[in-house]
Symmetry: C2
Subunit: 219 residues, 2 copies
Amino acid sequence: MEDTKTRILDAAERLLSERGFTAISLRAVTAGAGVNLGAVNYHFQSKKALIQAVFARRLEPLNRRRLAALDACEARAAGKPVPLEELLHAFLGPVMKPDGAGAGFVQLMGRMYTEPSLDVRRVFSAEMGKIAQRFISAFRRALPELPPEELFWRLLFTIGAMAQTLGAGLLLHFISGGICDPSDLEGIEKRLIRFAGAGFRASAGDARGKKRAARVRVS
Amino acid sequence: MEDTKTRILDAAERLLSERGFTAISLRAVTAGAGVNLGAVNYHFQSKKALIQAVFARRLEPLNRRRLAALDACEARAAGKPVPLEELLHAFLGPVMKPDGAGAGFVQLMGRMYTEPSLDVRRVFSAEMGKIAQRFISAFRRALPELPPEELFWRLLFTIGAMAQTLGAGLLLHFISGGICDPSDLEGIEKRLIRFAGAGFRASAGDARGKKRAARVRVS
DNA sequence: GTCTATATGGGGATAGAC
DNA sequence: GTCTATCCCCATATAGAC
């Protein structure tokens, strides 16, 4: 039997990924955890602090794995730019392969990107700030001809594609009629890397936008 | 002075795009609208019905515009497949150019894709179901060699990129350090079409995923 | 550390005067 | 149609017994 603190964190994580911050009550959390209502205010100080702890528990190791993967890529590259697809894998892989965290982890990550609560955003921003610069520098080196502004947008597109995928049970159901398997995280990551990789390599374009849209071929 | 019903819808839309379904109270809505608390239960029957009305008010004309744009594309194509970028424009354009709706519209659309509330999802799914098949058929014709499963995933990636962009003030701030302008909707749409267009055209790949990642060139 | 009981406030919904 | 007052429930947080 895990200790009370962990049980609370687990239950909160599950409910949070399903319903979001404001929709869950401490009563629901403690009932799900099989512990007493008072325990949450003993181990954490407030609902806010509990939610921040839930996210922090996953974000810290996640970003450690991301940085470790980036380190490994750069060591392999031996001074040369890291190939684009390896960078994408270093960034996306740790999210898609949670390595022993609960099943709710992936959905939780998806929710974090879209959670409107300021408290959640604060802890999320703090953690992301630690890794953003390293990855952006690496992407710049991999795509030296892409204007920085365009690079940022494409990173945002990629993150959005990832977040949507993690959170999507709904859309997938309607769009695919059920032929897509949202539980195949490895397959999804490969598809996403392929999609985003091609997107990153598209020409940056000009002010006239879509009329000069790239004609792309695959060798 | 607009009528009470409209004022309530407007206030609810603004608050909803900022904070989400469960976080807003009818008291906050009526205070923001400058109307009485009882009015919301007179004009609508419940909070749930109000929120559904908020989304439906925007979704219906949005999807009408999408279908009209698709109709125009297919008329121009005269029986041939509609080019991919035109399809993307027909789908994304009406979201990015709200045509006189309030400023909160774009954020509201972003939130709709990530809202966990079942009530919201229900109205959203109902509206999307009406246009999904038409667009999917058109995409299939534009990309006849792409396996259906892959097409669905790439559509989901594109929708995710769009939703993230619409909702993102947070990530953009951190990632770009402020050089990206989230209010330039037309520019964003062009960038997104370019990115997604290249992603759709990437080779479908095989089971080994990233190791055979496409080498893409632009003509 | 754990549980019960409770303080305090806010929520949605409604009844009924005007 | 609009406003006020109110019912009743549920929320977070805490105090204090064990």
